[in-house]
């Protein structure tokens, strides 16, 4: 919600000084990471789990990389090289996570957030991992479309209607937990719950697009 509120500011800034959007966003991000700045919660005495000062960079990166100029042009021109770097990087990070090979966080130098793997501040390692995943996915996507077009259409429909899918998914998750609590756990029940849940999410996406289609025809 906060990102939606901030979006017009980013858009206005992009219209007037487009070359400043990404540097300003990155400056806010790196300041927050280096100094550990986060937004306080209220009325409880905590901090935001998804620090908006850091997560804004993800949104701004998506916004700026969709352009045809600026840093997006540089990425497009060097995408092959970037992919060559991304593949081994992703493999290394995956192996570190899978085999729990992360370094002891208490032994890291200050500012520790620069070297930690953390979700709250989207720490640099997580950001690099995310960007590497996008690069690898952009490489694999044409092959996936060619061999499993139905699967791509299915997930694309979920992605296009992410808000209603997310809302219904939250309710279905709760319903699934209630069912599991009442009936117990087991492979068959869990498979049925996951399968029926995914199917219902697709129905939600289909309904949302069906409404759009009929609205457009009318």
């Amino acid at each position: 919600v906060l990102m939606v509120v901030v979006a017009p500011i980013v858009a206005i800034m992009h219209r007037s000084v487009p070359e400043w959007v990404l540097p300003v966003s990155f400056a806010i991000y790196i300041t927050s990471v280096c100094l550990g700045i986060n937004v306080k919660t209220w009325p409880t005495h905590g901090q935001w789990f998804f620090n908006p000062l850091c997560w804004q960079l993800i949104f701004v990166l998506g916004f700026t990389m969709s352009r045809e100029y600026g840093p997006a042009r540089w990425v497009r021109n060097n995408v092959r090289t970037l992919r060559i770097v991304a593949v081994p990087l992703l493999i290394v990070i995956f192996c570190m996570g899978w085999f729990n090979l992360w370094w002891d966080p208490t032994k890291l130098p200050e500012p520790r957030l620069l070297f930690l793997l953390g979700k709250t501040f989207v720490t640099p390692i997580r950001l690099i991992q995310f960007l590497a995943l996008i690069l690898v996915m952009s490489m694999a996507f044409p092959y996936i479309v060619r061999y499993v077009p139905g699967l791509v259409a299915f997930f694309s429909a979920l992605g296009r209607n992410s808000l209603p899918v997310f809302c219904v998914g939250s309710l279905l998750s709760l319903a699934g937990q209630i069912v599991r609590s009442a009936l117990g756990t087991g492979f068959i029940l869990d498979t049925f719950l996951v399968g029926s849940g995914v199917l219902m999410l697709w129905v939600v996406a289909w309904l949302a697009e069906w409404r759009s289609r009929t609205g457009a025809k009318a």
């Binding site: 550990g36 009325p43 409880t44 005495h45 905590g46 901090q47 789990f49 992360w102 002891d104 966080p105 208490t106 890291l108 520790r112 957030l113 930690l116 793997l117 953390g118 979700k119 937990q177 599991r180 609590s181 756990t185």
Partner: protein, 292 residues
């Protein structure tokens, strides 16, 4: 002292107590069960110690607490959540003590997800002790018991190896889950880990369960929400007392809290951090509110 003067003092005490008690009871009716709360809270906490907290106190007169897990807040006055009450109590009760409580609780977080986050938070906050309310989300999400035990034991061992004390704040008591077999198994698993690791546990579940059981009319919260509310206050009481007992009180000493039976005599407070003044965390009372 003559017999007459003793009688006069006794009468005066009765009059003062009689005048004070109804007002107090009216103002804070939910504390009537805190005797039960206190007794239940002793579960599991008796033998474990907090060496790193004691060391921090000796060397710095400051304790940094990292609070994790499902935030055990339930008070309507959220700004005086239970950790604030604990902080106020300890700082008020022990002269010169600085208690910093860093609340990093995330609702619904499973133990397996918390394990890595705890390591990061320890690196960032550098705490002396971690308060961890654990198991609530796992109980509801039907996490396999062995997985929880393994993750919990592993994280507790890591914390101890990094010179951080751990206080497990047990699961919440929820009426509708009281008979749930998995919820009970998770509770048992947490107790097993706590015993094996030799760390203190705050019996939040037992305390609130006991509150729910005593159906004496005035003090018993009727609704689930009211019970949660009473449980939060109870938890503040228990945590404060457990910490105080671990840090300052010799075996013969006892700390007085509202609702304690008369038979539990309290020694007068000694100056300095070696002995606590008897204050209630829930009342936020200042030092010197000890029973005479």
């Amino acid at each position: 002292m003559t017999a007459v003067s003793k009688l006069v003092w006794a009468l005066a005490a009765v009059v003062v107590a009689g005048a004070w008690a109804p007002v107090h009871a009216q103002a804070q009716p939910q504390r009537a069960g805190s005797g039960v709360c206190r007794e239940a809270g002793e579960a599991g906490a008796a033998t474990a110690s907090l060496p790193n907290v004691a060391k921090a106190l000796r060397e710095r007169k400051k304790i940094v607490v990292l609070a994790l897990g499902t935030t055990p807040l339930g008070l309507r006055e959220q700004e005086k959540g239970i950790y604030s009450l604990v902080e106020t109590f300890l700082e008020g009760a022990f002269k010169g003590l600085d208690v910093e409580i860093v609340d990093r609780g995330v609702s619904g977080e499973l133990v397996r997800d918390a394990s890595q986050r705890i390591r990061n938070e320890v690196a960032l906050v550098n705490p002396d002790v971690v308060f961890w309310q654990v198991g609530v989300a796992d109980g509801i999400a039907m996490t396999p018991v062995n997985e929880l035990k393994s993750e919990l034991a592993d994280t507790v061992a890591w914390l101890k190896a990094h010179h951080v004390d751990v206080v497990i704040i047990g699961m919440r008591y929820v009426r509708s889950l009281a008979g749930n077999a998995h919820y009970r198994n998770i509770r048992r698993a947490i107790r097993d880990v706590q015993r094996q690791a030799g760390i203190p546990r705050i019996g939040h579940y037992e305390a609130v369960e006991a509150l729910d059981r005593i159906k004496d009319g005035s003090a018993v919260p009727r609704s689930e929400a009211a019970l949660t509310e009473a449980g939060a206050e109870c938890a503040a009481n228990i945590i404060s007392r457990a910490l105080a007992a671990k840090l300052f009180v010799k075996p013969a000493q006892k700390i007085w809290l509202p609702g304690m039976p008369r038979s539990e005599e309290v020694r007068p407070p000694q100056p300095g951090p070696s002995a606590p003044a008897q204050a209630s965390p829930s009342s936020g009372a200042a030092p010197g509110t000890a029973k005479p």
